[in-house]
């Protein structure tokens, strides 16, 4: 354990030792920090709302505090489950994951373009508008202006703010990429650029066609577009952003090149070809053209090809680093390794849903929540948290305060997400077995009673995650306050307890290993 979280108490510089990289980091410091800090804020808001929403889905005598929660939800429209749940999910998807993803994408694009970034003011404006959009959207949901369409609940005025902001981000990103200094391109750039192309396509089609008044005569096509949008957001927006960050950071931190590097391109193209077809998992058996569903199940059934290739690239590189160095290279690495593993787990969950009979069993159960958790929380959040632990000290030239707090956050998140996935996955199987029971005496009440114990377990695990995230946010706040004390008041004491969480320990020599 001592080597898993090595700490270095001596004060030292944290910005990159490469002066060129340090200059680039300095040029995007404030927009990236603004993205990451507001993202962490939305993560805390989102996870605590999720605890509240999840606790409403079981009987009110489960926990003493629950009676109070239930009274709140019964008597005030703002606190009813149907408003809090979408507010929580949207806070996590748009407030947390998308904002953090945009911030990290800016940072990686600036670094891989090899020249200090221009016009950080554009990015600051974009961050402000983006956060205003998310805040307006979530307030709109609470006040009853939700559109009721999954992941497109934000009312039209919030969508406009997100649009303006995104246009600024995207213009900056494309300009930065096109103005890059000549040299080798990085595979992370391809992943980030495809995400930046996909988002306006998805959000444009989704919010224009479904965001305002529904198109007359479109009927069930609305739900088809929504399924396309939701899964597109996971597989073409969050997944490529997360993968871009992983493809950049894993070799960077471990000092190894990506293993099976010749497979990175085929993994990229097969992923964007097959992954968006996971949308048909929400259409099986529904009132849709059978040929669309069948074709989609064939395409999404081929998702194992990119998942296996990406797993070979990322998981095996991470494990090799661990084998060579005898540890995970500080606290950043455990988060990133787990993210790579959870990407494969999420791919397996999509693979299960692409089998028609399995889909029929799990279609309307909590297994679908498990899938959402795996993409948004399991995979993407672990990438982003690991990256934040790595990036923030480099931007501020200042260390984290406590290795213990990072350790606590890590273990709470790991056990939380693994238990949530296990509970919702297995619970979905049990709930599906009752819902699809051929005995006519079985009713929805039976299925509900089976599901309740898994909902209770999931609530407790989500609480664990929320507490861990709260600790993370407080730790970040503590770090910023000490940084201000050092910068503004010249308080040298603040610099005394710097933690160096990310420095890879040099590989053991053969004599040391023998001893």
């Amino acid at each position: 354990m001592a080597t898993l979280f090595p700490t270095n108490v001596a004060p030292r510089g944290f910005s990159s030792t490469d002066p060129e990289l340090a200059a680039i980091d300095a040029s995007v410091r404030w927009p990236v920090l603004a993205c990451l800090l507001t993202a962490v804020h939305w993560m805390v808001v989102g996870t605590f709302l999720l605890v509240y929403a999840s606790s409403l889905s079981h009987p009110q005598d489960t926990f003493p505090i629950l009676g109070w929660f239930v009274d709140l939800s019964n008597n005030f429209s703002m606190f009813t489950y149907g408003r809090v749940w979408p507010a929580a999910v949207d806070a996590l998807v748009y407030g947390w994951a998308s904002t953090a993803g945009l911030g990290l994408a800016i940072w990686i694009l600036a670094r891989t373009s090899r020249s200090p970034a221009a016009a950080p003011g554009v990015l600051m404006t974009a961050v402000i508008f983006w956060n205003l959009g998310v805040a307006a959207g979530i307030t709109g949901i609470f006040l009853g202006y939700s559109t009721g369409t999954e992941l497109l609940e934000f009312p039209a005025f919030a969508s406009w703010l997100l649009w303006i902001s995104y246009a600024l981000f995207a213009l900056w990103a494309v300009a930065t990429y096109l103005g890059r200094r000549p040299g080798r391109d990085h595979i992370a750039q391809a992943w980030i650029l495809v995400a930046l192309f996909a988002f306006p396509w998805l959000y444009g089609a989704g919010s224009i066609l479904l965001g305002g008044r529904p198109l007359p005569g479109s009927g069930v096509i609305q739900e088809l577009i929504d399924a396309w949008y939701v899964h597109g957001l996971y597989t073409l927006w969050l997944a490529p952003l997360g993968l871009g960050i992983l493809y950049y950071l894993i070799p960077k931190i471990s000092g190894l090149s990506i293993r099976f590097g010749s497979k990175t391109q085929i993994a990229f193209w097969t992923w964007i070809l097959f992954a968006p077809w996971t949308a048909v998992h929400d259409l099986v058996g529904g009132p849709f053209p059978a040929e669309t569903v069948t074709f989609g199940l064939i395409m999404s059934g081929l998702i194992f090809i990119p998942v296996v290739l990406i797993g070979m690239n990322l998981v095996s590189t991470a494990f090799k680093a661990e084998e060579q160095q005898g540890h995970h290279g500080g606290v950043v690495f455990p988060f990133l390794v787990l993210a790579a593993v959870l990407f494969v787990v999420a791919g397996i969950s999509e693979q299960i849903l692409s089998i028609r009979s399995a889909n029929e069993l799990l279609r309307f159960t909590m297994f679908r929540d498990c899938d959402t958790f795996l993409w948004v929380y399991g995979f993407f959040t672990f990438v982003a948290i690991g990256a934040i632990y790595y990036v923030v000290p480099r931007l501020l030239d200042f260390g984290w305060r406590s290795a213990l707090l990072i350790k606590i956050h890590y273990y709470m998140s790991v056990y939380g997400i693994l238990l949530v996935v296990a509970m919702l996955g297995f619970g979905g199987l049990m709930q599906g077995a009752v819902l699809e029971n051929p005995d006519v005496q079985v009713t929805i009440v039976t299925a509900d009673n089976v599901a309740i114990s898994f909902h209770i377990a999931a609530t407790m695990c989500i609480s664990l995650i929320a507490l861990g995230n709260g600790i993370f946010a407080l730790h970040l706040g503590w770090m910023l306050i000490d940084w201000l004390r050092l910068r503004v008041r010249g308080n040298r004491l603040a610099a005394e307890i710097l933690v160096e969480p990310f420095e890879p320990v040099p590989a053991k020599t053969s004599e040391e290993a023998a001893a």
């Binding site: 529904p214 964007i272 529904g286 053209p289 309307f364 079985v442």
Partner: protein
């Protein structure tokens, strides 16, 4: 990295893959299903499906804003795919007292402004909820206190859609008849707000008690006595 060496071809290849996905998954079904018209019944006297009332359309907004679709589906899969027909979710009684048991078709949804197919069955399917709750009063009572039917129900109560008011003159026609723990104090009554009225009008419009295809006799029939409803 060869992947990005020619930015223009990289860009157009990505656009091509997105276009393929968009056309095959959205545009093609839209061309097929986007312009469905209602049909006439065999006597030529009725237009099917039935059109919905104005207050039912207002209820769609309440259904959307309060997120009913996060726990309730409105789709019945065919007997070949899942047990929806066996659960009784495809059964509604028509005007002649005969049970119609069938899956839902795209044409069933053409009058709805917003369609809520749903992806979760924490609650019951609502495609034929009006076949199980036949009058507004029972739905009001259920929305006010769902624990009457199932004490462990995970459905929230929607008390904020009702107001308690002093009876002046005649008691209100829509006042809820509630058992003792929920009953208002003497001289007071609990009445639904406009929100609750439109939501209930919407729910009462959800009934597929007509045939859209002549070959539906092939769908397995479940006798209503064995059909669990709740």
């Amino acid at each position: 990295m060869k992947i990005l060496s020619e930015f223009r071809s990289f860009f157009w290849l990505i656009v091509g893959i997105f276009m393929f996905n968009w056309f095959a998954m959205v545009v093609f079904p839209w061309l097929e299903l986007g312009h469905l018209d209602p049909i006439q019944d065999e006597n030529g006297t009725d237009i099917l499906p039935w059109d919905t009332s104005g207050s039912a359309h207002a209820g769609e907004r309440v259904y959307a804003a309060d997120g009913c679709a996060y726990c309730h589906t409105q789709q019945v899969r065919p007997a070949s795919s899942g047990a929806d027909i066996i659960r009784g979710w495809g059964t509604a009684r028509d005007a002649d007292g005969k049970d119609v048991t069938r899956r839902t078709y795209p044409r069933d949804y053409i009058w709805q402004g917003q369609v809520f197919l749903g992806n979760s069955r924490n609650g019951a399917d609502l495609s034929n909820v009006a076949a199980r709750f036949t009058d507004a009063a029972s739905l009001y009572r259920y929305l006010y206190n769902p624990y009457v039917l199932n004490p462990h129900s995970s459905m929230p109560a929607y008390r904020y859609m009702f107001v308690t008011q002093k009876i002046s003159g005649q008691p209100s026609k829509d006042a809820l008849q509630l058992p003792t723990p929920d009953a208002p104090p003497a001289g007071y009554e609990i009445v639904p707000t406009a929100q609750a009225r439109s939501l209930v009008a919407y729910l009462l419009s959800l009934k597929k008690d007509y045939h859209l295809k002549p070959d539906e006799a092939g769908v397995p029939y479940v006798p209503p006595s064995a059909t669990p409803n709740s």
